[in-house]
């Protein structure tokens, strides 16, 4: 696809990196020529220096025959204006980043009226992500399919886990749960496991299940599934605001610590039911006084990455917190992240670009295919695709064991009118189903592609 990215900041560069790796034709627009130079020197893309909301600049970037414009500059208004002009000039699909809470409240109206394909609020998206993680403290990352009826969860097999050393057949026999282990990451490699596959310590396991069954499975394997009751958030930025709203809705009590008096007052007005503490969280005594030792979850959301890392490490040491989440904004050592021992890491720029990438992939996939949702798991080595079965084909109505499926491909879930089926050899795909396929094979465009 021909894609124009306006704004070459953290998110812009992450997007360019990912999109160019997926072989799209990318043009970046930014006012700063050094930012453009950095992008064009490092990635296979073209750069235009100028104001992205200017028609002539957009024209120079080729908006006439572009398929998509993504506006991720620092300013909401500029992003919206970029999209508006691109829509009028080239009739392209548009994605805007809008982060101001004032607009966020009216986002569906804006999206509708301006004809945007997608609006992303990085802070809100990050907050949702954190809230999801807190809901299942043992899982690292959760993706949803079929309007939330099916989830793909992700957890690491620890030393104490009963799953250690078991084959998948044993797991199925012993726990009798409606869950399906669909991908295992071991070191740098990704596997689509079969029955005799043996799980080892430190394997990162992804499984498909409905939320209810996922909870059941976690309970059976002795992982605590209780939602945390309280949380301590350090740093009262926008993520903290969205997150607190979200968590209050889930019935979790929230405490926010921020060192800025004015911001605290503002937050206390916005979030009447949340405990707002004005204090410097990098001071040990403040944390102790506010009971870091007894909090069930700890979230470091200050604007300084180093401080967040330090706070989380401290929390890991002194508290009983089941879940510790660290926000990292700038640091780009992706491979070091997996070595970080103190809980989960949230990187708003990655979340933003992931959301946008998903939309891009979907747009690309929907050109001549029927993929409903597409997720990349395990660093993009594994894809999970959701197909809806609208017409009769070779795969419909035949028991799965009789289908000659491709290698490294798994039918993970069949959703039949709201009923979630974990398929076995006797199951078959029917018209009207939506089917989730997990595979390391790239570029599946149709349900028929699952056959050899």
């Amino acid at each position: 696809m021909k894609i124009i990215v306006v704004g070459c900041g953290k998110v812009g560069l992450t997007l360019v990196k990912q999109l160019s790796a997926e072989k799209h034709d990318i043009t970046v627009i930014d006012l700063r020529s050094d930012a453009i130079a950095e992008a064009t020197n490092s990635y296979d893309c073209m750069g235009v220096v100028g104001n992205g909301a200017s028609y002539s600049v957009q024209k120079e970037a080729g908006v006439d025959d572009a398929n998509l414009l993504i506006a991720v500059t620092g300013s909401d208004e500029l992003n919206l204006l970029c999209c508006l002009i691109a829509k009028k000039a080239g009739n392209t699909a548009t994605i805007a980043r809008v982060r101001n809470p004032v607009y966020s409240k009216e986002i569906s109206y804006i999206k509708e009226e301006l004809g945007l394909s997608m609006v992303i609020n990085p802070e809100y998206a990050s907050a949702i992500e954190i809230a999801r993680i807190l809901r299942f403290p043992s899982a690292d990352k959760i993706e949803t399919f079929a309007n939330g009826r099916v989830e793909i969860l992700n957890f690491v097999i620890t030393e104490k886990s009963p799953l250690k050393g078991m084959t998948l057949i044993d797991v199925a026999k012993k726990y009798k749960c409606e869950v399906l282990i669909c991908a295992v990451e071991r070191g740098d490699e990704a596997f689509i496991p079969n029955g005799p596959f043996i799980l080892r310590e430190n394997d990162r396991v992804s499984f498909v299940a409905s939320p209810r069954h996922a909870k059941e499975f976690f309970e059976k394997i002795g992982v605590d599934t209780h939602q945390v009751k309280n949380t301590m958030i350090v740093g009262g930025g926008r993520i903290a605001y969205y997150l607190a709203t979200q968590l209050r809705g889930q019935g979790i009590s929230v405490k926010i610590i921020d060192s800025d008096r004015a911001r605290c007052e503002e937050l206390s007005e916005l979030l009447p039911k949340v405990c707002i503490i004005n204090g410097d969280a990098t001071n040990k005594d403040v944390l102790m006084e506010e009971g870091i030792e007894s909090c069930e979850s700890f979230i470091a959301l200050t604007g300084i990455d180093e401080a967040n890392i330090f706070l989380s490490m401290y929390a890991k040491n002194v508290s009983k917190a089941k879940k510790i989440i660290t926000k990292i904004n700038r640091i780009s050592f992706d491979d070091m992240m997996s070595l970080f021992q103190a809980g989960s890491i949230i990187a708003p720029k990655n979340i933003t670009s992931d959301y946008i990438l998903q939309q891009v992939r979907l747009m690309q996939n929907t050109i001549g295919s029927n993929v409903e949702t597409l997720y990349k798991l395990v660093d993009g080595k594994v894809e999970a695709l959701e197909f809806s079965i609208k017409e009769k084909s070779e795969v419909v109505g035949i028991p799965l064991k009789e289908l000659k499926l491709k290698r490294n491909l798994l039918i993970a879930c069949i959703n039949r009118g709201g009923l979630v089926i974990t398929p076995n050899g006797q199951s078959s795909i029917q018209l009207g189903d939506t089917v989730i396929v997990v595979t390391t094979q790239k570029g599946l465009g149709d349900i028929r592609d699952i056959l050899e």
Binding site: K2, S20, A21, K23, D25, I26, T27, S33, D34, T40, N41, S42, Y43, D44, C45, M46, V49
Partner: protein, 479 residues
């Protein structure tokens, strides 16, 4: 320095060169010449070596500007060394240093020759000489990028190292697509010229070789008198095409996309055309009476101007005999060279535009000490870094130039010869004035001087840095 990756890319270059050598092999089949066997032998050995190097893709993908520049510099040297082998093996150019000079002169599209009698060479050798122009004109790496499935950010580093001009841009977002478009335009224009020359009744072999020489703005003739013995129509065609190949290829891309307004508003192209017209007019008047007809005066002047400004180096007359006003104009044109982003060499018109505007700004700063001004071209501000690097380029150029002239002066030639010999090689023109004029050649220089000139040709074609960087010890350190 990521050696495994550098050697991997070098392997591709060698394989590609072996592939290119098939063309003289085919020629030798047509003309039943034995020299073709040597080309075949060298091609087979080179291909074997190349394939050995590309057998396995290196694991370490780290490839930065440093590697890009080094591998381009290195590849051009290796290409010249390999391309010279058939000349020596077939004993047509018995001395290997001479053969390297001839090959380097070919690949760098210089067109300077050490041969005293060109017409004695076999057809396949002549074709290989001219074909090296065609390859070197647009560039080996641009070709590699167009045909190879090379993904990743590093390909831009290769393109930047090989393409001439103060700042290298792409035509379309993808390097691969840009490279393809460039080669398609290049190929189409070359074929057009061949057809036109055939219509003008030039022999087929001559038309092919001359078209290769024009396209790459090289300048190897296949006759002793370069282009003087071709008919008037052919000379006009060559004149026009030399000028066309000296134009920034962005111009043709705009034309293809039907953006005529954008195409004609490229500042560099306007200056370039104006320069050619103006100099042709001056020389026509200055040499009035040298030639029997007015048409011939104009044709000769236009041909020489077009040939020198694009750094091609074909000649239809011995301009050594011209009045010194005309000769001086030619020397100035030797300095300016053609447009950036063309196949021509030289310092490039766009650099002169930037220098000119910087000078204006500098003077302005004396008049209004507090004035703030930027250098702009094509309606866009040139960023400070580019302006600075363009200025530094001039200094580096002068440095290499002065050192080369100094080294050449050991050879007992007169100042004009030495001065223009270096200019003709470093700016990839071919003929200079004096002993190295259009009727002379470079055979008289000592081997040490020839090595200096080979260095100048390669450094000039790659715009100095890739070759100079090879001399910097820091580049060769392992990561």
């Amino acid at each position: 320095m990521n050696y495994s990756f550098v050697f991997y890319i070098l392997g591709w270059v060698l394989t590609l060169e072996a592939g290119f050598m098939m063309l003289p092999c085919i020629t030798s089949l047509i003309y039943r010449e034995k020299a073709g066997l040597w080309f075949l032998l060298v091609a087979v050995v080179t291909a074997a070596g190349g394939l050995l190097l590309i057998r396995k893709k290196p694991k370490n993908p780290q490839f930065f500007t440093k590697e890009g520049f080094a591998v381009v510099g290195l590849s051009w040297i290796v290409m010249s060394l390999v391309g010279a082998l058939p000349f020596t093996l077939s004993k047509e150019i018995p001395n290997y240093v001479d053969a390297i000079f001839e090959t380097a002169s070919g690949f760098t599209t210089t067109g300077a020759s050490i041969l005293t009698d060109v017409e004695a060479l076999s057809h396949c050798t002549l074709l290989w000489r001219s074909f090296t122009h065609w390859i070197g004109g647009m560039g080996v790496f641009i070709f590699l990028l167009a045909v190879l499935p090379m993904a990743g950010g590093y390909n831009m580093n290769l393109m930047r190292a090989e393409s001439p001009g103060p700042s290298v841009g792409k035509l379309v977002p993808k390097v691969k697509e840009s490279a393809k478009i460039l080669y398609i335009i290049y190929f189409a224009m070359t074929v057009t010229e061949m057809i036109l020359l055939l219509i003008a009744r030039m022999p087929v072999f001559d038309a092919i070789c001359i078209a290769f020489g024009t396209a790459g703005t090289g300048g190897f003739g296949i006759r002793g008198d370069s282009c003087a013995s071709y008919n008037a129509a052919s000379q006009w065609i060559i004149t026009v095409f030399m000028a066309l190949f000296g134009i920034n290829f962005n111009f043709y891309y705009f034309m293809l996309r039907k953006k005529f307004k954008d195409a004609f508003s490229i500042e560099e192209v306007r200056w370039y055309v104006a320069l050619i017209l103006l100099c042709t007019a001056f020389i026509t008047f200055n040499t009035w009476g040298f030639y029997p007809t007015a048409e011939e005066s104009l044709r000769t002047a236009a041909f020489q101007v077009s040939s020198i400004v694009t750094t091609t180096g074909f000649a239809t007359t011995d301009f050594n005999l011209w009045p010194s006003f005309s000769k001086t104009i030619l020397i100035i044109l030797m300095l300016t060279g053609a447009c950036a982003g063309s196949t021509g060499g030289g310092l490039k018109i766009s650099r002169f535009i930037i220098w000119w505007k910087s000078i204006k700004n500098q003077l302005e700063a004396f008049v209004h000490p507090r004035s703030v001004n930027a250098v702009e071209m094509d309606g866009k501000t040139i960023d400070k870094d580019t302006v600075r690097s363009v200025s530094v380029y001039m200094v580096v150029f002068l440095l290499v130039y002065v050192i080369s002239v100094f080294l050449l002066s050991l050879d007992q030639f007169d100042l004009v010869t030495n001065f223009t010999a270096v200019l003709a090689t470093i700016n990839n023109i071919g003929p200079g004035l004096g002993e190295v004029g259009p009727c002379g050649n470079f055979a008289g220089f000592s081997y040490a001087s020839k090595v200096v000139l080979i260095f100048d040709m390669l450094a000039g074609r790659l715009e100095l840095y890739p070759i100079l960087l090879l001399l910097a010890p820091g580049v060769w350190k392992k990561h």
